[in-house]
């Protein structure tokens, strides 16, 4: 930089410097030029004024010169006047003044000898005066034009400087007010400038602390790779952008959208790179939050839908489409009414939707209609107004739960309750019957009480076995073992022998009671009344029943051995009556007790299908 220039480093913004230099002469000349400017350029006089002033000036000089010098030096003083006239009023006025001055001098010359005429020498001298003065006017005019041009270019320079300053200030304020982080990097990716707004969003307290630091180092992981790649692209002259997560200088983690591009000079070359980062954290978080809500609705197993205020549907989640059979159907043609059977439409239009308008909410049971099958779907529905971001109601929303399973469960429970009540009443009726028959046949109250207790226990045992199989069947071995267990050890005193067989539920109670009566009788009078006797309980299935007319039969035998000698009872009580009569009835076959002297034998014979659940044989 030369000694005659001074540097003005105008700091228009961090890292942005503009260099302006001017000559010192320019400054010194300024006051004179400023004065001349008004005379020469700004207020150029009109033609009569110019020539009038020139005439007056020359006249005044002529009078002054005459007063001072009379006939002596007739051209004296005119030249400076003409020069000033030419300088101030232009070339035309200068030449006019030259002519006048020559004429005035000529008038003076007429007053010196030879009087009344001009000598040759005087004519020559006058001509020389006129010529040199005219030449001087030419020089002055040239100077005048130069001055005018200089002023014009100076003014233009001042204007452009002012414009540049204004532009500069504008760019500065834009940079400062932008909330984007605008950075200038050198070709090595080092930070050379960061905008004021950028320093705020990046939480930079002192830019000098990070000036010159490699910009990609502010990124970690994937972001670092993206930043390096973007720099590489910019160095190759191409713009590139990416989205990444990076921390501010104070460690606040934020999402950024980053655009990196070369800063081109007018000739297309570049030696700096622009990096603009925008904080998109809020946007990103609201997007993520919105995404979560969308997923919540989409993956819900409840029916979620929205309709416009005119009833047209604009959203249904997958569960809703599945529930009413609308997979892949265009929703826009549907209205709320299409989802309900005709008898429900009036309820929805007349009660539900008005309640939503009035109370802001409605919930209750409704019935939807399946679009393909027409099947009715009981649902528990909640409806509410849907508003836009300003709070204006734009439609109606619903969360609706499929109530079919619940309804079915309720119905099942109702049936189960009914069935339970039915069974309970049947059991009570059986108890009533057993009680009455016990009392009817009892010889005394004490005996009746004893018998009744034991029979109710047997009834309970049968009920246990049935309950285990949900009243659908009863395993014969289990029923036999449990009914007889109170009367003697199963396996030693009482032996059971027979195939696996599942009894019909309705015969189980009677068989349990019959076995109880047989065992009670055996304990009192038969083979279980001493220490040696035994009871063999055996059952068989005879015949396969697969041929026509030859049905499989079920045969059960109760055989007592080793007891005291048997005599037929003198009176047939409830026990034997029940055994024979009820088993015949329940099993639809024959049943009889044979009081053999060596031991009581009971034989029952029935169709297998009347006694047992016949399983499909493989």
């Amino acid at each position: 930089m030369g000694a005659d220039t001074r540097d003005t480093c105008v700091r228009t913004g961090p890292g942005s410097a503009f260099l302006v230099s001017r000559t010192r002469e320019d400054t010194r000349l300024r006051s004179l030029l400023d004065r001349l400017r008004t005379a020469l350029v700004a207020r150029r006089p009109s033609f009569p004024v110019r020539y009038g002033v020139a005439t007056l000036a020359v006249g005044a000089i002529a009078l002054l010169r005459w007063a001072l010098f009379a006939e002596f030096a007739p051209w004296f003083l005119f030249t400076p006047g003409v020069v000033v006239v030419a300088l101030l009023l232009g070339g035309g006025a200068g030449l006019w003044a030259t002519g006048l001055a020559t004429a005035c001098a000529g008038i003076v010359l007429l007053a010196v000898p030879p009087l009344g005429a001009l000598s040759l020498i005087q004519v020559v001298a006058s001509t020389i005066f006129a010529a040199t003065t005219a030449g001087l006017v030419g020089v002055v005019v040239a100077l005048r034009h130069a001055l005018i041009e200089a002023e014009a270019s100076r003014a233009a320079l001042a204007r452009s400087a002012a414009a540049a300053e204004e532009r500069e200030a504008f760019v500065t304020s834009v940079l400062a007010s932008s909330t984007d982080c605008i950075k200038v990097l050198d070709l090595d990716g080092r930070l050379t400038f960061m905008s004021e707004g950028g320093q705020q969003v990046m939480e930079v307290s002192d830019f000098n602390a990070i000036r010159g630091c490699p910009w990609p180092d502010f990124w970690t992981g994937q972001g670092h790779q993206e930043a390096v790649a973007a720099l590489t692209e910019a160095r190759a002259g191409r713009a590139r952008s990416f989205v990444g997560r990076a921390c501010t200088m104070r460690g606040t983690s934020k999402w950024w959208h980053v655009a990196v591009s070369p800063i081109r000079n007018p000739d297309g070359t570049f030696d700096r790179i622009l990096s603009v980062s925008r904080d998109i954290t809020a946007l990103r978080e609201s997007e993520e939050e919105r995404d979560r809500f969308v997923r919540l609705a989409e993956t819900s197993t409840d029916f979620i839908g929205m309709a416009q205020t005119d009833g047209r549907i604009f959203y249904l989640n997958d569960a809703a489409r599945r529930m009413v059979g609308l997979d892949g159907t265009d929703l826009t043609a549907l209205t709320i009414a299409d989802f309900f059977p005709p008898e429900q439409v009036a309820t929805v239009a007349g009660e539900v939707l008005p309640a939503v308008d009035r109370d802001g909410h409605w919930s209750g049971e409704l019935t939807l209609r399946h679009f393909r099958t027409g099947a009715l779907i009981p649902v528990l529905s909640s409806l509410f107004p849907v508003t836009d971001s300003e709070g204006a109601i734009v439609g109606t929303g619903t969360v609706t739960r499929d109530f079919r399973a619940r309804k079915a469960a309720e119905e099942e429970l109702r049936l189960l309750n009914g069935e339970l009540a039915h069974r309970l009443k049947n059991v009570l009726a059986v108890v009533q019957s057993v009680t009455r028959q016990t009392l009817r046949n009892a010889s005394d109250l004490g005996r009746a009480s004893e018998d009744l207790s034991a029979r109710l226990v047997a009834l309970g045992t049968a009920t246990d076995v049935l309950t285990n199989a949900s009243w659908r069947s009863a395993d014969l071995r289990e029923l036999t073992a449990r009914s007889l267990a109170p009367h003697g050890e199963i396996g030693t005193r009482i032996r059971l022998d027979g195939p696996d067989l599942t009894l019909q539920p309705q015969v189980a109670v009677a068989l349990a009671l019959a076995l109880h009566e047989l065992a009670t009788n055996a304990a009192k009078y038969g083979s279980l009344s001493n220490d040696a006797g035994r009871v063999e309980v055996s059952w068989q299935v005879q015949g396969e029943g697969n041929g026509e007319g030859a049905e499989a039969r079920f045969r059960l035998e109760w055989r007592e051995q080793g007891g005291p000698p048997v005599a037929p009872p003198t009176r047939r009580g409830f026990g034997s009556t029940l055994i024979e009569r009820s088993l015949r009835s329940y099993f639809g076959g024959t049943a009889g007790i044979d009081y053999r002297p060596d031991g009581l034998v009971f034989v029952m014979d029935a169709r297998l299908s009347d006694a047992a659940l016949v399983r499909d044989e493989a």
């Binding site: 009540a421 009443k425 059986v430 019957s433 028959q437 309705q506 009820s582």
Partner: protein, 126 residues
């Protein structure tokens, strides 16, 4: 209205598939000097009714195996033998009044046989 059945006729038909319950009712009425017919299902009951016109009282369970349940049987009896006293027994909820035939008494299980007997004895025919 004693014209259809002789006064003092004590004849009852008990229709009940559950033998334990049936025997109790049979024994109860037999002990009190009644002539008792028994049936396990509606078909047997109808056959007995056709054969024994003197049957004055029918006591039937509702739930029974076969094509005809006790309710249908009761209607059949009311149509075919209008003066018959009808008792319909069930362990389930009582049928609606319209489902029952006219002048039939519904008895929920378990029921009191003595009350049934008193009602029979109070009825005009008895």
């Amino acid at each position: 209205m004693g014209q259809s059945t002789p006064i003092g006729t004590k004849t009852i038909l008990v229709v009940e598939d559950e033998a334990l319950l049936r025997f109790d009712v049979i024994d109860f009425f037999e002990d009190r000097g009644w002539r008792v017919y028994e049936a396990e299902n509606a078909e047997q009951a109808i056959a007995l009714l056709d054969r024994h016109g003197e049957i004055r009282v029918v006591l039937t369970d509702v739930q029974m195996p076969g094509a005809m349940d006790g309710l249908k049987l009761a209607h059949y009896v009311r149509d075919r033998f209008p003066p018959t006293l009808l008792f319909v027994v069930s362990g389930q909820a009582p049928p609606s009044a319209t489902a029952l035939p006219a002048r039939a008494t519904f008895l929920p299980k378990p029921f009191d046989l003595n009350r049934v007997l008193r009602q029979i004895e109070r009825s005009p025919v008895g």
